[in-house]
């Protein structure tokens, strides 16, 4: 009896989703220097203000250290350094985005500013051809919103890179 109920619910959901034909993804738009980067919202568990980062000696330069996130010690990396940009400049707008990937622990990412949330469907995303430079290695595509271009970050490969090094 219960299974039947579950089925019904699924069907209802399916029918609700039917009008939407294309897949859409929501991105949090962040600023690094002059450029805008989008991070898939499903990986983001929290966005916090800048807080004290405790340096960890003898680790890669882009690892800024560890922070205290509600009693958990979370490593924090500089997205700027990871993307081959200049060292971060901490301002009032600097944010730490806490990312949580399935089966991984949380990690903090420093960005210059968090701007907005955009919804992009497949049509507005252009898959870029991959150059071999540091930056585009971590991009999954470029999204177009109101004549602006947003580089979409492939968070999984950014973090996979962190784990490996």
């Amino acid at each position: 009896m219960d299974e039947v109920k579950v089925m019904d619910e699924q069907k209802r959901n399916e029918s609700l989703n039917r009008p939407v034909e294309r897949e859409t993804t929501q991105y949090i738009v962040t600023r690094l220097g002059e450029e805008q980067y989008g991070i898939d919202i499903k990986y983001i568990s929290n966005i916090g203000r800048m807080q004290k980062i405790t340096r960890v000696p003898k680790v890669s330069e882009y690892i800024k250290g560890v922070i205290n996130l509600r009693g958990e010690v979370i490593p924090t990396i500089s997205l700027r350094l990871k993307m081959g940009l200049d060292e971060d400049e901490i301002t009032k707008k600097t944010r730490i985005i806490i990312l949580k990937l399935e089966q991984h622990e949380s990690i903090g990412v420093l960005v210059d500013e968090v701007k907005e949330v955009v919804t992009l469907d497949e049509e507005h995303v252009e898959r870029v051809s991959y150059d071999k430079d540091e930056k585009s290695r971590f991009l999954s595509g470029v999204g177009k919103v109101d004549n602006k271009l947003i580089s979409l970050l492939d968070i999984t490969s950014v973090l996979a890179d962190v784990v490996e090094t």
Binding site: D2, K5, T54, P57, I107, V163
Partner: protein, 713 residues
Amino acid sequence: MDTSQYLEIFLDETKEHLQNLNTQIMDLEQNPENMDTINEIFRAAHSLKGMAGTMGYKRMQALTHDMENVFSEVRNGTFKVQPDMIDVLFKCLDALEEYLENIQQTTEEGTNDNEDLIKILNDILKNGGTVNAGGGTSAPAAEQSAEKAPEQAAAAAPAEGKTARWQEIKISDTERTLIDKAHSDNLKVYGVTVYVEEACVLKAARAFLVFKALEKLGEIIVSEPPAQDIEDEKFELTFSLIFISSSAKEEVISAIKNVSEIEEALCEEYVVPQAAAPQTTDEPVVETQPAVPQETAAPAASTPAAATPAASAPAAAKPANKPANKPVVNRTVRVDIEKLDNLMNLVSELIIAKNSLVAATSSDGSKSDLGSVNEHIEYLESVTTNLHESVMKVRMVPIESVVAKFPRMIRDLSKKLDKKMELYMTGEDTELDRTVVDEIGDPLMHMLRNSADHGLEPNDVRVANGKPEVGSIFLDAYQDGNNVVIEVRDDGGGINIEAVRNKAIERGTITHEQAEGMTDKEIIDLLFLPSFSTAKKVSDVSGRGVGLDVVKSKIESLSGEVEVKNKFGEGSSWIIRLPLTLAIIQALMVVIGDEKFAIALGSIQTIEDVAPEDIKLVQAKEVMHIRGTVIPIIRMNKVLDIPPREDENKNLTVIIVKKGDKQAGLVVDELIGQQEVVIKSMGKYIKVPKIISGATILGNGDVALILDANALI
């Protein structure tokens, strides 16, 4: 059917039963005639079978079933326990443990049918029966009939004493309406009473299955006790319900009886008791109520079903991705209720302390209240200290759970190596942090195997050397201050230092010249190097050289240490020293540059104030001379890449740390003081340098790193 919500209980209890079986069968080997042991074994095997069946682990059930059969015959005195049988039984236990391991990893039992074992068991049943049939004396036979009597009685006269209790269900007007409606729809209304077997372990699971089976046939409108209570296992051996269905009575009964461990199901057409006539005419009441009883019955039964697919889906998905990942089931600790009560008390005290602090600070007249605030803070401090101790106690478990399997292991080794040996254990009740207890099993096993294989000489050599023929291995555990010491000792030949030295030279680990200058202790330390083994023969017990280095690194990862005491010709003892707990340590907070660090107090010997001119250079390294010893100096700011402070000429603060018999002086800039710190993991993203053993969160919310002084020496 989905039973994953019971998986944890199942694993826990199965482990317990298996351990129990292991111990009991060991016992049986010594006293094959002990009826109590045999009964205990039978009961454990029976419960295992039942539990495996409930959870749908068919292979496990089949194997335990055949084991149970054998025990049952032994219990009935049909045949006696023979040494060969013990071996087979142990093999069965190993196979069961394998199933259990599989279940823990993947929730599946695996595909090993263990047909050979089942066949052997059946052969025992056949042959044992024919060989010893006449041998069965009258005494056991009498016992058999006595024991069987209640069972037979139960089987023969199921209805005896088992009344149809559904008449006792009090039905409300709502149910009455439903029943009337059912009658008018030409549906049948049944009263059902189900009796669960007395030995049934997961009554709630059985009841759930009964509900599930009945819901396929119709609708349960009310049950006694209520569905929620049944789900929570708040019932004795019976429950009753009223059930609307179009199926025939026989179908209903057989559906219920399909569920195993159901002793009896009674089902008759339900007649609405006439005593209280339906008289409510109030429309709203009738209208608002109907949903209620139905919902309590149906969702209560459906909650496990709804909740478990969600739970089982990731469980099933995980092993597919990472088969070697953590067990699907969370680790649990069984806690003495008294410890919990104590915790509750402390928490309420904590709340009182907080409230009085709030009261003290919110009232005006700040000066007069300062004293009382301090008083409250002191109170708060004592409460938190007690709370900490109590929580730690909850985490502590006796090492018994780990060491209990060793007698069996030594017995097997004794047979395999063809050496007579005996294991003596003391201090099994010594308590350690759960995380530590889980980890020390393997290292201890390694060391015991080493003792059995390398340590003890063959029996004839022992006799020739004037030692008792049977070798002794000792496992002693005891608490020593903030440490727990576990000692593995044997009265064998001890470590042959010369053999190790020659082997090391032969393997090129050290040169001849180095070998000359090495002390015995240094030579023994070579044994802990990877891939070093002096065993002439590689056996499947030991001698591959993968053992001791793993033991050492494991113990060190638990912040413990291994020490070896050796007397050539008389045996060796391996001493493991482990911290009581890993989660919270006493630490000294220091400042280096402008960063704060914690150093575990355990490794600190003294703190010295040293004038810069007292530091000398020896071979371009800084050392200092203190109380007759020369101690190398380590400038912490250099190690940690921190720019040095300006005031070069000031006296230096040097923390003397000790590892084994080596010492070092750590130069820091400031001391803050002693503090209890909670160790937090730094995650897997950062490959932390060895000198950092973790992080902790300070009172102001900042993170401070914990320095591992051992890694510096």
